[in-house]
Subunit: 474 residues, 2 copies
C-alpha cells in the first residue's frame, strides 16, 4: 500500500469504499489523470472478490467437477476406485483463486496506477472531506476531495430476531471461509445466493434443505424449471415458506425451523447450520450522510443516471445506491460516475433493462430485461418465443440438455424486452442479450444473426425463430 | 420414410441433398406451405450430423472429461485409483448422440412435417426434373419441382496421389466410426478439422503428430496462441510443412512422411494411420449441371445473395456453393433460398463478415469477420483491442486462463470488423460477435454493453475498453 504519512491529503477524487465499483472507478479516474485515494474498511476488492461472486463460483466449480467425475464413465472415462469429495481441497482452491485475483488488484493499485488505499473506517466530515479512522489504531486523519464517490456496498440482511453468530447461523460471508462442512444445512432464501449455496452443498453430498421461493425475481418459467431440476436432483425445497424468528429454534444439536409450504402443509426442517440468504441491505450507517443532507431510501442512497446524490459532486455507486446489487452493475456505475466527473458525457446504464443477472447453480441461469410476467404487468402487448435445450445437439453432447431460452418482446413494436436462459453456459450466453438489448434489437434480428452450429447459443436463435412463428429443430 | 410409390411425383420444391442446409430448407418450405421432396444419396442429416460437427464434438467432449478427471484433485475431488480412457465408450457415446439427433430429425420429417425423403442418387434431368436412382436397387424415377435446391455438400479432399483407403489413410468420415484407436497418428492439415482431431487423439493418449499450419485462416495472434498451447500440451506440430505424395510412404507397419518445417528443417514423422484434413471439395460431379448450363467454379456452384444459380428457379446452398463450408451457414442459406422462393425478401447473409467460425480443440476458438491481417490487407485503418484470459476471474475458476479476446475495428469509421476469441467457451461467446456484426456495432457499444461478472465474456468488454484505450483489469 502507498505510504500515507508522506502523501498529501488533497485529492481530486476520494472513494469511500474499495469494493468492485470503487476500485474500477479509482482505476478509470487515474487513467483520466485524476489524483485518487481509496478508503476501505476491510480489504480492497470488497464483497464480490472476497466474500461473494468469486469464492462462490470457485465452490460451484468444485461441485461441477465432482458431478463430472461421477458421470465420467458415460463419456468413456473409467475411474477404477472411489471418488471422494475433499471439502478442504475445494476451500483451499477457492481461497487460492481469491488470493490470485487480489494480488492482481494490488498490482494494479500499487504498481501500475499507484493509487493510495487507506484501510480504515471512513466518514463524510463535510461535503469535501472524508475522515478516516485507521484500522491499525493509528491516529485518525482526513482526506479532502474535489469529488467523492460513496461505494460502501451492502451486507447480508439477517432474519429479524435471529442475529448471525457465524457458526450456527451464518450468511454467505461466513460460508466462503467455513473451515469444515457441517453435517447438514438449512438454507433460508431462494434468490441467487440461496440457490447457489444450496447447489454447492447438496452436490457436495451434505444434506441441505432450501426454504423459500426459487429465484422469485426470474421469469416464472425459469423459476419453475429450476424447481423441477432441483426436484430431479433430489434437493429438497420448501417453496412459499416465510419463517420468522418465532419459527426458528436454535438448539445444542442444531437448528429447527417450522415451515409452511405454498400449499399450507406444515413441517419442521432441521440442520446443523442455518445459512440465511434473504437479501442484502446497503451500508449507509455512520458515514455522515445526515450531516450533508444526503437522503436515503430504505437502506440505499438514491442517485440520478450519472450516479450523483443530491450533492452533485458526491456520487454513490454499486450496491449502496440500491439500483441493482450486482458487481458488473457497480463497475459500470463506477465508469459512469468518473466519466461524468470528467465531462465525458457517459451513456447511462438502464440497469433493469440492459444489465444481465446470472445465477450459477446447476443448471445456470442468465437473464436480462423483463420477465414475461413483469412485461405483461406493465401493459406491453407481450409475445414470447421459446426453445428447449433438449433438441440442441451441443447441450446433448455436454450431457446437460435441460432448460430453454425464452425471448420476451413487444408484439406491436417488436422491441426485445427480455431474454431468459436456463441451462448450460447460460451465464456466458446472456452477454449476447446485453448487447442485443443495448442495441435495441428485435427478435427478427436475433433470428437473422448467425448462431454457430453446434453451439448451445443456437437455442437463442431458435427462440427468436419461434417468436416469429417458425422454429426449425422442434 | 414416406411411401414413395403412392406419392405423386410433382412438387413445389425438390431438394437435391438432405444435409444440414437441405433439411432446414425442406422444413422451412413446408412451414410456408410448399409441397417438398428431398433426394438424399446417403442419409438424412448429411455430413454435419453423421460424419462431421456432431460426432467430432462428442469425441472432443470425452477428451475434455478425461482432462477434467485427471485434474480433479486440484478442485477438491479425489480419485482413489486408476483413470482409464475407454475409446470404445467414447465411440459408443458419439454414435448414441448422433443416433438421438437423427431420430429427432426423422420425427420432424416423418411425423411433424411429413416430408418425403428419397434415398438414392439424384441428378438434374432438365431444369424442373430430378432423376432418382434409388439406393435399394428399385427402378429409377423422376421428381418434378417448380423449384430445385441443390445441396449436395462436400467431401474431404485427398492428397493428390494418396487415395483414401479408410484404414491406413483416412479422413474425418472414417475417423468418426473408427472402431479402434491405432497406435499412433499423423494428422495432415491444421485447419479446424485437423486441429480438432489432433486435440482429440493427443488427449486420448495416442501419439499424434500434426503436420501443417495451425488454423491458418484465423487471426495470426490466434494461430500463434493455439500453436503455443499445443506446445505446452506437448502435442507435436510441424508448421509450414506441405508434403506431397512423393514424401509419403505407406508401408506394412504404418506411414512415413518426410516433412520440412517452416525453418527448413527436415525430418520424418511416422504413424500407424494418416488422417488427412487438407480441405474439402464440393460435390458437383454427375448431378447434371452441364446439361443445364449451370456453371461451376473450382468445385463449387456460384450463386447470388439469394442462393440462385444462373437458372433462377434452381438454387444452390451450403458447402456446394463454396461461400463458406459451415453448417450454420448452410442453414441460413436454406432459409434464405426458401424465403426468396416465397417472395419474403429475406435479409442476405454476409458469410465472410457475419457468420462465425468455431474450432472446438482445447483451447476453443470462436471468430467472426476479418482478422487483423486481412483487414489491413484490404486497406482499412485497422485498430485492435485485446484482453487476455489470464486476469479473468471466471477463466481462472474454470482452470483455463489461457487465450484472449481481440477486437478488430476501423479506426476511422469505428466499425467492428472482426472479433476473435481463443479460450474457454469461445464457441459460445462468439454468438455475441454475430449479433454485434449484424447490428453494425462499434467497440464503444461493446464496452458500454454489460458483460456480467464473473463471466469469461467480460474479456470481450475489456477488449472493447482496450480498443478505446483503457482496459480496466490489466
Amino acid at each position: 500500500m502507498a505510504d500515507v504519512s508522506s502523501a498529501t491529503h488533497e485529492f481530486d477524487l476520494v472513494l469511500l469504499g474499495g469494493g468492485t465499483g470503487g476500485y474500477v472507478a479509482a482505476i478509470r479516474a487515474t487513467q483520466l489523470g485524476l489524483k485518487v485515494a481509496v478508503v476501505e474498511e476491510l480489504i480492497l476488492g470488497g464483497t464480490c472478490l472476497h466474500r461473494g461472486c468469486i469464492p462462490t463460483k470457485a465452490f460451484l466449480k468444485s461441485a461441477d467437477v465432482y458431478d463430472q467425475v461421477k458421470s465420467a464413465a458415460e463419456f468413456g472415462v473409467n475411474v477404477k476406485g472411489d471418488i471422494e469429495f475433499d471439502y478442504d481441497g475445494a476451500l483451499k482452491r477457492s481461497l487460492k483463486v481469491v488470493e490470485g485475483q487480489y494480488k492482481g488488484l494490488l498490482y494494479l493499485f500499487d504498481k501500475k496506477y499507484k493509487i493510495p488505499v487507506f484501510i480504515g473506517r471512513g466518514e463524510l466530515i463535510d461535503d469535501h472531506t472524508v475522515g478516516v479512522t485507521p484500522k491499525d489504531g493509528s491516529a485518525p486523519f482526513s482526506l479532502r476531495g474535489k469529488y467523492i464517490i460513496i461505494n460502501t456496498g451492502s451486507r447480508p440482511r439477517p432474519i429479524d430476531g435471529v442475529p448471525y453468530d457465524g457458526k450456527q447461523v451464518i450468511n454467505s460471508d461466513h460460508a466462503v471461509v467455513l473451515d469444515k462442512l457441517p453435517k447438514s444445512f438449512i438454507i433460508r432464501g431462494g434468490g441467487a445466493t440461496g440457490v447457489e449455496w444450496a447447489s454447492v452443498y447438496h452436490r457436495y453430498g451434505t444434506p441441505t434443505t432450501l426454504v423459500g421461493n426459487v429465484v422469485p425475481m426470474e421469469d416464472k418459467e425459469v423459476s419453475d424449471q429450476l424447481a423441477r431440476s432441483f426436484q430431479r436432483q433430489k434437493l429438497p425445497v420448501i417453496q412459499g415458506a416465510r419463517p420468522t424468528a418465532d419459527d426458528i429454534e436454535l438448539g445444542k444439536n442444531g437448528v429447527k425451523m417450522r415451515v409452511k409450504d405454498a400449499k399450507g402443509k406444515e413441517s419442521v426442517v432441521e440442520g446443523e447450520t442455518l445459512l440465511v440468504a434473504i437479501g442484502r441491505q446497503g451500508n449507509i450507517e455512520d458515514i455522515g450522510l445526515e450531516k450533508l443532507g444526503i437522503e436515503t431510501k430504505g437502506s440505499y442512497i438514491p442517485v440520478n443516471d450519472m450516479q450523483q446524490t443530491k450533492v452533485p459532486h458526491i456520487y454513490a455507486i454499486g450496491d449502496v445506491n440500491g439500483k441493482q446489487l450486482l458487481a458488473h452493475t457497480a463497475m459500470h456505475h463506477g465508469l459512469i460516475a468518473v466519466e461524468h466527473i470528467m465531462g465525458l458525457n457517459p451513456f447511462p446504464l438502464n440497469e433493469e433493462m440492459n444489465s444481465p443477472s446470472c445465477t450459477y447453480c446447476e443448471p445456470e441461469i442468465g437473464s436480462v430485461g423483463l420477465s414475461e410476467q413483469e412485461a405483461t404487468k406493465r401493459g406491453y402487448n407481450v409475445k414470447v418465443g421459446k426453445f428447449p435445450m433438449k433438441p440442441n445437439a451441443k447441450a446433448v453432447i455436454e450431457g446437460h440438455p435441460d432448460g430453454f431460452a425464452k425471448i420476451v418482446a413487444d408484439a406491436d413494436t417488436k422491441d426485445l424486452l427480455g431474454l431468459h436462459i436456463i441451462g448450460p453456459h447460460s451465464t456466458e450466453m446472456i452477454a449476447e442479450g446485453g448487447v442485443a438489448r443495448l442495441l435495441e434489437s428485435t427478435p427478427e434480428e436475433l433470428a437473422i444473426a448467425v448462431h454457430p452450429h453446434p453451439t448451445i447459443s443456437e437455442v437463442i436463435g431458435e427462440a427468436a425463430h419461434d417468436w416469429l412463428g417458425h422454429a426449425i429443430h422442434i
